[in-house]
């Protein structure tokens, strides 16, 4: 298929567009964090995700996330489209979590400096200092933060920092049935994460969510459909848990 043909359809155009930004999404070769220290990141292979929500449940159990709140969830979409004149329908799943951005918009807005990026790249909230003002919740472009109804303070995915510090994998990675979540150190050239990212360096296979926002996420995706890269244009969720019902 020639480039001209590719750009003739809207879908083709949308598919081609992220390739322009793929270079910006890919992490540099090394040394993204402090010298000699790990820089934790995650690669989500959407093609391997089966939408079982095991990650969602294990995260809740591991981190005592309150009822109807989520640090990670697998967004699930029913997609109907015409392919070669035939109507097809399918399911698209997209694991979402805090992107632990290199330029996290949540950090500078915090009025008391309670949220910060650790030397190893993990963005965390100091619960003792947090005042629950929710400014960081507003600033996050990924809707990854929320106010915890038990603590009334900001809450979010921490890459299970307590487990990582003890040499363990995040709970969601540990329990992923399809092996879709790969967690590792960007500074480790022999690690699977770095090897997978390096292997995809010259393709547009690796993407991040909302690359145009300039946040430089540390959660990368393989198999990310461009239609789900930003705010999804579609019909609202059929089931949306929330504190006040559902």
């Amino acid at each position: 298929m020639s480039d001209d043909t590719l750009l003739q359809s809207r879908r083709g155009f949308l598919r081609a567009l992220p390739a322009i930004t793929a270079g910006a999404a890919l992490p540099m070769g090394s040394a993204r964090a402090s010298e000699g220290k790990p820089h934790w990141a995650m690669l989500v292979d959407v093609r391997k995700c089966i939408g079982c929500q095991a990650c969602t449940v294990s995260c809740i159990m591991e981190n005592a996330v309150p009822v109807n709140s989520f640090r990670t969830i697998v967004s699930t979409y029913a997609v109907a489209q015409e392919v070669d004149g035939k109507l097809t329908a399918g399911t698209y799943v997209l694991p979402r979590l805090c992107n632990h951005c290199d330029h996290p918009p949540c950090v500078p807005v915090c009025p008391v400096g309670a949220t910060f990026k650790r030397d190893d790249g993990i963005v965390v909230v100091d619960g003792d200092r947090c005042v629950g003002c929710a400014y960081c919740v507003q600033a996050c472009p990924y809707d990854a933060r929320f106010i915890n109804h038990d603590t009334n303070k900001a809450d979010k995915c921490t890459f299970c920092a307590h487990r990582v510090d003890a040499g363990l994998l995040p709970a969601c990675v540990e329990t992923c049935v399809g092996g879709a979540r790969i967690f590792g150190d960007l500074n480790d050239p022999k690690g699977e994460l770095r090897r997978r990212l390096d292997a995809a360096k010259n393709t547009d296979a690796i993407k991040v969510l909302k690359p145009e926002s300039g946040t430089r996420p540390n959660v990368f995706y393989i198999g990310l459909d461009p239609r789900f890269q930003g705010r999804v244009e579609g019909q609202a969720a059929l089931w949306r848990p929330s504190e006040h019902g559902g």
């Binding site: 109907a80 015409e82 915090c110 005042v131 600033a139 705010r231 579609g234 019909q235 929330s242």
Partner: protein, 363 residues
């Protein structure tokens, strides 16, 4: 057939800035706007403004004292405010707010005291059970125009900083295109001044003698603010429709498909036109009162739409989040409670301080 997407499972992020935030931005905006209306008489001594400025000072003080309570309530645990002073992150507009609010309120209270000292002395001279208290409060009862003007400058700088920070705090949130527009701080300010004029018209009717509006030309001033509101709204819409500003186009694209948003836009424009018409055409007290009430409603509704409506737009998910106003403290009770507190403060201040000036005391 075009591709269609239906979100089957996703999380709905709740509104994180609760109606408390709407109440705070509404009240502090009214306070700042009212303070500006006090300057013509108390600092500049324009006789036509005496009644209006006195009512405006009452409005500035009642709203200014009530607003921080709503803000503290939004922290879920009011004692947490100490961290704003123990660990300030000066790169955050919200952190600066913790310093600007006390600056403004202390300036306002000093200004109020200096402005009311002569009236307090007259109250003391009139005798009665509280004469000694009024005499102590009057502290000589001098009408020190120089000191009043210095206090006005202090309060004015605080008011300007409060207006600036409240606008910037919301404007810098890039994650929400509806908020991330340089129009927003200006819209906050203009609607706050309009609401303040509306509040003075209401206070003039129920607390004053009903003559403040005509003497100071408040209806014409209110009409001017409504013209500004309409011009700003039209410019915002034009930038979005033409695509001259990608951010405005993005914001418009987010809200345009929603029937509720379209009704809200028509309602806001209709309210501004109604206020404009009433301000220019209505001659009687009832017309001025109606104009004042509609202006107040518009100022509140603008903030409700921006904060609550803005948070109903998902950043990644499809469609819109549904917000149902809870009846408890984080919803209706919070709104009613703040309004009740404002009324209580108003009753207290009207009862103990000489808002009508020499006329009231002579009577």
């Amino acid at each position: 057939m075009s591709p269609s997407i239906v979100e089957v499972v996703n999380v709905a992020r709740e509104v994180a800035w609760l109606p408390w935030a709407v109440q705070y931005f509404f009240l502090i905006g009214l306070s700042v706007g009212c303070f500006l209306l006090t300057v013509p008489w108390f600092a500049l001594r324009r006789p036509a403004w005496e009644r209006a400025s006195r009512m405006a000072l009452l409005g500035a003080l009642t709203c200014g004292l009530t607003a921080p309570v709503a803000l503290l309530s939004d922290l879920h645990q009011p004692g947490r405010f100490l961290n704003f002073y123990l660990h300030p992150n000066l790169g955050s507009w919200m952190a600066w707010g913790a310093f600007f609010i006390p600056l403004y309120l202390s300036g306002l209270m000093l200004y109020t005291w200096l402005a009311l000292r002569p009236d307090l002395k007259r109250l003391a001279d009139a005798g009665g059970r509280w004469a000694s208290a009024y005499r102590a409060l009057a502290y000589g009862g001098h009408d020190s125009l120089g000191a009043i003007r210095m206090a006005a400058m202090l309060a004015l700088s605080g008011a300007a900083l409060v207006a600036l920070y409240t606008g910037m705090e919301v404007m810098v949130v890039r994650a929400r295109p509806l908020w991330d527009t340089p129009f927003l701080p200006v819209q906050f300010f203009v609607t706050a001044v309009a609401g303040a004029i509306g509040l003075v018209l209401v206070l003039d009717r129920f607390v004053g003698d009903g003559r403040a509006a005509a003497e100071a030309g408040l209806p014409r001033l209110l009409a001017a603010t409504q013209v500004l509101v309409l011009v700003l709204g039209a410019a915002w819409l034009l930038l979005g429709i033409t695509g001259l500003s990608p951010r405005h186009a993005q914001a418009l694209a987010q809200v345009a498909p929603s029937t509720a948003w379209r009704i809200t836009a028509v309602w806001a424009a209709g309210s501004a036109l109604a206020t404009l018409w009433l301000s220019l055409a209505a001659r009687g007290a009832a017309g001025r009162l109606a104009a004042g009430l509609i202006a107040l409603h518009s100022a509140w509704m603008m903030r409700w739409t921006v904060f609550i409506g803005g948070q109903e737009i998902p950043k990644t998910g499809a469609g819109y989040y549904d917000y149902h106003l809870p009846l408890g403290h984080d919803g209706l009770l919070g709104i009613v409670g703040t309004a009740g507190l404002w009324i209580a403060v108003l009753i207290l201040l009207v009862s103990v301080l000489p808002w009508s000036g020499p006329r009231h005391i002579q009577a």
